[in-house]
Symmetry: C3
Subunit: 215 residues, 3 copies
């Protein structure tokens, strides 16, 4: 379970970059599946996609745990431990959010997913791509922080867009929907999607903090 | 983005007190607007107040970020970094809570805000004033912690009062309201208000911790 | 409020184990009361159990605060401060979760608690017992981590079981329940129960982290 005494001193910091990149790829794949799943309205398809996303959520959990373990047993890390910890755990939160959306869609099983719901899922996908590209900058942003800074701003903008989509939709839903049970289903699913766009922006906040500290 | 090498050593700790005070004033202004907004029941007025509160929420975000940046780049801080961090982020949580309440009122747009809802907003306002006054004690509480301790106790008492108001109201709501959609709206708004009184009490817990550590 | 200068150096680390054990016993008693309370469907009984659980929640709060205070004023701790902090605060989260369930049952006052709800409460009780037994291992797991590891795995398994119970039930609820207000009540209570099983698993994650760091 624990590295041997000497292996702790070996230069291992380089392993954190590929691990974080790998985790960001799980975020991407999960968001792709979410976007795809919203094209289908049958119970079977929804259940099937949820299973796939749940498998990714477990993969993300294991990767995050592995990163935490490595943090405990590595002497020299490329950034402060707490920064790597925050980066991994915030990416894991995005995957958890996507999983929670897929779960709600499956267990509430609403008649339809609205266009606004589909739009939110595509915004999550765009954020996931941003995060994944940002991971490629981790090794070099100290010298040229501009690119990473750009991804942070983009994450912030996408989240603002998502806020508008969400608020506009919910307002209309509460004005027009007369079937209360359907309203509850849709409200909870849309709220889950909106919270996931928030979670993705939090990754951007951690990245911005890295720039302040190290660039 | 980063302070110069020498400026990091300059005695800058004193800047944290005015920044924290400033943040507490945003909490106060936001709570004042919330109380005021609940006197109106039209969509227009609600939307208008939400915009004003949202602007404050962004101001609070920026101030909190500024405090975090200063923490990263200042060598000597008046308390442990983590304590200033906790104080700022918990105050920011209160502003976020108020913003979330205003948002829910705007997008759910219920017929009326109950007297209990108005009462909760006034309790949030009282908590905000407590927090703001507590910030004036930060420089001196090591010598005379009694006043700060008093504010902590008051925050705790107000939160208990809010709990009672909330529970009594929700119990009655679920017994009497027959319009399910209206029930969902009101339940979510009241829950947001109650969570905001909790968030304000959390500031009190951070302050109590400061007394234990430093007084 | 503060220990004297010399008393801080006295070997006091041993006090953390009994305090953590005591907190785990509050988790157990609260979960026992929750299981018991679900056998009754009257408003009076529900209110009565909620009062008892609320008293335990306050007891848990005080114990957690005491542990935090001791952490601030003790020089030598058996594990890193942050680990003891995490352990106490995650156990406190379980008690808060149980309290929130009892509160929801009392203020929403649904007609019946389903068999699935009762099952979830028994799973919380099993998790509580696991946590309490795990506390007995804290002094010795460095030499033989197997037993503690077993409790972590058990917590993980129980949480997975709870997920299945919850998802299966909610799916059926949204298919079959036609009374929207009753649906909202039951959904929120079941969600509270499921979140509490999650909170208990988080204690397991903290324990697993201890094994990685120290065993």
């Amino acid at each position: 379970m624990k590295n041997s005494f000497f292996s702790r001193f070996a230069p291992k910091e380089s392993k954190f970059f590929p691990l974080l990149k790998q985790l960001s790829e799980v975020v991407c794949t999960a968001s792709d599946l979410l976007v795809e799943s919203l094209q289908y309205d049958t119970t079977e398809k929804r259940t099937d996609y949820y299973k796939q996303i749940k498998a990714l959520e477990r993969k993300g959990d294991k990767l995050t745990c592995l990163i935490f373990d490595e943090l405990e047993t590595t002497f020299i890390t490329p950034f402060d431990r707490e920064d790597i910890h925050a980066l991994a755990s915030k990416m894991d939160d995005v995957i958890d959010g996507i999983n929670s959306c897929a779960k709600r869609i499956t267990i509430y099983n609403p008649h339809l997913i609205s266009d606004s719901g589909k739009e939110l899922s595509r915004l999550i996908q765009q954020e996931a791509m941003c995060i994944s590209k940002a991971m490629d900058e981790l090794e070099t942003f100290r010298r040229k922080p501009g690119i990473l800074h750009g991804y942070c701003n983009k994450l912030h903008d996408i989240e603002n867009q998502a806020d508008d989509v969400y608020e506009f939709f919910i307002k209309k839903l509460f004005e027009e929907e007369t079937d209360c049970i359907e309203l509850v289903k849709v409200k909870e699913i849309m709220h889950g999607l909106e919270e996931t766009t928030d979670a993705a922006e939090h990754v951007g906040k951690v990245l911005k903090n890295l720039i302040i500290k190290y660039a």
